[in-house]
Each structure stands twice: as C-alpha cells, then as structure tokens.
Amino acid sequence: MELRAYIVRRLLLIIPVLFGVTLLIFGLLQLFSPVERAALYVTDPKQFANIAEVIEKYGLDQPVWVQYGHWITEIFQGNLGWSKVVSQPVTSAMLNFLPATLELAIFATPLIIFGGIFLGSKAAAHKDKAIDHATRLGAIVGWSLPTFWLGLMLLMVFYGLFSGLFPPERLSTEMNIVVHSEAFTQYTKLHIIDAILNGNGRVLLDSLRHLVLPVITLTVVNLAFIMRLMRSSMLEALGKGYILTARAKGLDENTVVSKHARRNALIPVLTVSGYIFAGLVNGVVITETIFNYKGLGWWAWQSAVNLDISGVLGFALFNGVLFVFTNLVVDLLYARIDPRVRLGGKVT
C-alpha cells in the first residue's frame, strides 16, 4: 500500500521535472536570433527566400512565453524541426536511428549490469582470493582501455585477421537489401526481432554477427565500472552488523551473501546502472562511429559537427526526457528494494 502511494507521488513529480527540461532546452533555443531559429523549420534551401513567412508562421518574433507555447505545441504534435544532416524531420530521424541504438543497448545492458553485479559480488565474497585478483585486474584493464582503441583492435582481429568474421555496420549489403525488400516486414526496425517475426534466420544471424563487436566494446568498458562499484558496495555491506547477526543465526555463507548482503549492496549500484542504461540508449558516439553503426549517437555527432541546430536540440530533448524516465524507474526500484525509501525514514 505504501508502495502505491510512493509511486503516485513519484509520478506526479515527473510533471514539473519534464516542464523544467523543456524550459531549459527552450532557453537554449532563445540564444539564437529569430532567423536562426526559423532555420529549425526550414526543410528546403528555397524557403530561405521567404524566411519572414516561417518566422510569422511559428511566431518567432513574439514574446517569449507565446513562443514557448507555440514550440511546446509543435513538440506535442511531434514536430521537433528539420534535421538537415539527414534531410528528414527530427522526429523521424530519431525513430529511424533509435532502433539501431536500442539493439545495442538491449544486448549490452544486461551483460554489463548482471555481469558486473555477479562478478562484483563474487569478488567481494572471495576478497583477496584468486577470483578477486583476476576480476580486479580485468576491471583495471577494461576500464583503462580507450573505447576507440579497443574497438579498432577488435575490428582488426575479427574483421581483418579472421576475414570478416564479425563485420562493422548493422547488416551486410545483401541482408540490407533483404530487410528493405517487400517480402520483409519491418515491424519494429529492431532487426533481430523483425527477423524472428519474419522467420528469417539469415537476417537474424547476420545482424547478430554485426552486433558482436560493438556489444563487446561497450560491455568491457562499462562492466568494469559496475563490477568495481558492486565489489566495494558489497564489501561495505559484508562489514555491517546485520551480516554478523546473519552468520550468528547459523545461515550458510551463500545465504548470508545473496540474501542479506546483496540486496543492501545493490542500492548504490542501481543508480549507476540506470545512468549506464540511459547512456547506452542515447547513443554511444565513439562505438557507433568506429563500427560505422548508424544509431542515435552517430546522428547526434553528425548534427553537432554540421551545426544542425534542430538535430542537436531534438537530441537534447530526447536525452532529458530519457534521463527523467530512467530516474523514475531507478527510484521505483529503490523503493522496491529499500523500505526506508518507500516508507520514509533515515537512510544510513
């Protein structure tokens, strides 16, 4: 019951936060002159001839609050402007690039989070034993490898040396044609799921092969981080009085670790996991660029270097909203794990 009250409270809080996010992004927009802002909605260079018309249409010369009204109404109608680098509306660019990034995130996130939690707890439970040293070494190596270097090395070995075992990009040319053919329905634009729904094993295999290297690259770097965090937070939990109590009850070490320590240790790991997930969903510029894997990160980067204002702002808005909702989920999970959060009380 208390949990339900907490969820309602937490959901209501979303409204002002989202409002704040839009204000912030709208504020950024105000740094530009009306003419520059009009560029947001220009889809064709010919329109620049009568830019005044565009300014008129979107009320770009009116008082700020009126403009905010216009702007937010457009957003609710799905109009975030025109992204010139990809020559399509920002909304459809997002919808086109998100699935690619999501596909990466869907595979990398569980590997990172569950792998990190598992290895981190193991390391803490066997502190100063072989497994602890091994994971620690792995973490240091993983954490200090620059993404671009690791990515290029992987490409060199698995694409170069093993002639195309795990290629870059999202699909091979041949499969790309299949995917875009009449016979193949793109239900979700997530190739893996579409391939399964279409019963097309070759597309499935091909997209999996293309996912291997970027997923490995992302996992190595981020897993190290979660693992370190889990290890230290687990060690802290294992030093608590209630662990001694649990042992004094006669519980076996497994139960002590997995029931009494892990749940408490998860609390700090949860926040970081949320941010890692959000970070993966909003695109991973370096990884996507190295593997020429066209996702959100790739698009955001293109927009940034080509001064595609609407692209960048659209991306910023997406980012803001994504983080707000990730935070929401993290908070709800917190409440699930820690009664002190949902019942209100001191968190020590």
Binding site: K240, A248, K249, G250, L343
Partner: protein, 394 residues
C-alpha cells in the same frame, strides 16, 4: 554444578599490515550451567572477540591460533570442541544452541527485511521439524473440516501438501523441499512452513514484551525505537531456546530507563529458560545487577574471576581494584586508572598490566602470572596480590 562451556588456552591473532596483534592470549574461562557470567574490562581488551570465538565468527585478518572451547550440548553427552568441528556442525549450533545479542540493535537488524521475516528466518532454519509437524496438524484439521464447497475444492491440494510434509517429517534431509522450492508454482506448498514460522515469531515477539507484536512483525527496523529493536534482536536470539546466550553490551546504546527494562527482561527470560548467559559489559554497576560470577579481563586475558559479591567486597587483583576505584560513586572522586591501555601491536612483556601497576615487582616484567585459586571460587592471576590488605584475603 556442571560446566556448560570450558575455554582453554584460547589465542586469537590478527595479522594486520602493521604487524601481528595478539588479541586473546591463552585465555581460560569456564561457564557453568544456568549461570550468568559477566565479562568486564576496558575497551579493546578482547571481550567481543572472546564471544565471537565461541561462535567461530572471527573473520580475517583475525584467526583463532590455538585452544579449545568445549561445549556441553546436552547433559550426559560428551562435550564437543567447538573449534574442532566442521563448518556445517558449527552452523547447526549457531542460533540454536548458542546465540548472540549485539551491542547496536540498529545495525544488528537488516534494514531491508521486516522484523517478522528476520525472526522467522532463524526458526525456519533450526526448528524445521517442529514446523513440519505443526503444518501437518493444521492441514489435518482443515481436512477434517465441514464438507463445504471450498473444502471439497481445496482438499486434493491439501492432501498433496500433507504428503509432502510427511515426506519431510520422515526424512529431514529429504530433497523434496529443495526440489519443490525451485519450482515456482510448487513453492506455494512450502508457504505453510513460513506461515507457521511467522506465528512462532510473533509469539516470540510477545514473549520479549513487544506490544502489538502482529503489527511490529510487519514493520522494518527503522520504524522501531532502539529499545524495541533490541527486544526484536533478543527475540531472534532466543527463538530456538539456546542453552547458552551471549549478550555483548546489549544495553550500552540505550537510554538508562530502557536499559533497566532490557536487563529485567533478560533476567526473566534467562531464569525461565534455564540457560546460561555470558554478559559482556564495561559497566561494573550493570554487571553487579545481573551476574552471578564476573571475570575481569585485561589485554586479552583474564586477571580475576570471582562471585559477584566476593569481587566487589574483596577485589584482589590490582587491576580490578583500579577498575572499581574508577567507578564514579556519589560524594567521591573517581580515580582514573593511571597510564594508558597498552598498544595491542606491542604488548608489555610478563604481566600485561605491569607498566600501569602500582604493585609491580621485578618478576612481573618477565613472567606472565598464572591463574590460581585463592579462595574457593576466587581466581586471580597476579604475582603480588598480597600486602595491601596484609594478605588477609587468602
């Protein structure tokens, strides 16, 4: 009276980066059936370590180097050496035959589980057989109920449930509960055990005088006051009726009035259950209230053991005397013990107390004083206890 626990030559060392800490040094200690033994001494002298050694809960870098701890599980049986048995056997003793109450109730309870869950956990662990029998009884009673529609529909399920419990009852080590516990829908069959354990937990909470115990069982530690938390911890410790209870400064972190209530509770429970208690405190006043015998500890070993009245009326060891003189009394200046607690990395040779002792003589520096019985039941480890009282004490 028989001895319940006999500790001999217990030595515990900590292997730290700075060197080896000799935390317990050839400690000898006997605890009799149904007595309350008080362990007193300054902070860091090794009281908690003594308690943890009995449960074999010293964790690295600490290690039990040598010694034996003989525990009389049941009258008549051969006592077993707790330090020699296997990991599984010591786990079966922890929480059921010997249990422990810790100093800080708020950290002794896991913040993410309800009080009821934490108390039932220990019952589920050690009193399974009883729970199974109760479950069979409950189901049998349900099966014998009126022939209502609900019963007719539910009875096949209940029969299955009962046969599962009967299997467990026949063979406590049967694999059935483990198999059933892994299958999601079947897991519900074991729910009855949890329910029975919950009932027992609630009655245990009642026994430690927690008002409104049904509600408290649903609550989390942070919703209770310190005194209530400590009662819950006591309920957890006593849930399996241990024959030996270790209480490590159970009232130190509580208000004075609550302290008295907890002491009273412990005293009552102890006498009802005929168990022995090792009561650790640095408060000599509290020790006098609750203990039958007292052992005074200094730097990892005992220096004097005596019956309570004897110790207070006639302290023999210079350290005990200093300790008693340091207790503030109305109208008198307390005399703080001179000198400082020795550096555990670098303990003095011979009698550990000699740098602070006003009666130290030459041999104190070289030889560790052996423990010997001066009068019946009054033990002391000192080379030079006579003199001040003119030897009248022996």
């Amino acid at each position: 009276m028989n001895e319940l626990l006999i500790i001999r030559n217990l030595t515990v060392k900590f292997y730290t980066y700075d060197g080896v800490v000799q935390a317990l040094d050839n400690l000898d200690l006997d605890i009799k059936q149904e007595e309350t033994f008080g362990l007193v001494g300054e902070t860091g002298c090794g009281k908690t370590l003594t308690a943890l050694s009995i449960l074999r809960l010293i964790s690295p870098p600490g290690r039990i180097e040598s010694g034996s701890i003989c525990f009389n599980i049941d009258d008549g049986d051969e006592p077993i050496d707790l330090l020699a048995i296997g990991e599984e056997e010591i786990r079966a003793i922890r929480g059921s035959k010997i249990s422990m109450i810790f100093q800080e109730p708020s950290s002794a309870l896991n913040p993410v589980y309800t009080i009821g869950d934490q108390v039932s956990e220990v019952i589920l662990l050690h009193r399974r057989q009883e729970l199974v029998n109760k479950a069979i009884e409950t189901i049998t009673a349900l099966l014998a109920g009126r022939n209502s529609l609900v019963n007719i529909l539910a009875n096949p399920m209940r029969l299955a449930e009962r046969s599962l419990y009967q299997k467990i009852a026949q063979n406590p080590h049967s694999l059935w509960p483990r198999i059933v516990g892994r299958i999601p829908i079947m897991r519900r069959l074991l729910q009855r055990l949890k329910d029975e354990a919950k009932k027992m937990a609630i009655s245990m909470l009642k026994e430690v005088e927690i008002p409104d115990s049904e509600r408290v069982a649903q609550q989390y530690p942070h919703q209770l006051s310190g005194g209530m938390e400590q009662r819950a911890v006591i309920a957890m410790a006593l849930a399996c009726s241990p024959s030996f209870l270790i209480a490590d400064e159970p009232t130190t972190s509580l208000d004075v009035t609550i302290q008295d209530q907890i002491l009273e509770l412990l005293r009552r429970l102890k006498s009802e259950r005929e168990s022995s208690v090792l009561y650790i405190t640095h408060d000599l006043g509290v020790a006098a209230q609750i203990c039958d015998r007292i052992g005074v500890m200094y730097a990892g070993s005992l220096c004097e053991i005596a019956r309570v009245d004897d110790l207070y009326a006639n302290p023999l060891h210079p350290y005990t005397k200093a300790l008693l003189a340091a207790v503030p009394k109305p109208g008198e200046e307390p005399h703080a013990i001179g000198g400082t607690v020795p550096d555990p990395l670098n303990l003095p040779s011979g009698c550990r107390f000699h740098p602070r002792c006003s009666r130290a003589i030459g041999m104190c520096r070289e030889h560790v004083p052996p423990m010997h019985e001066l009068a019946s039941g009054h033990f002391i480890a000192c080379h030079n206890y006579q003199g001040e009282t003119g030897g009248s004490s022996c």
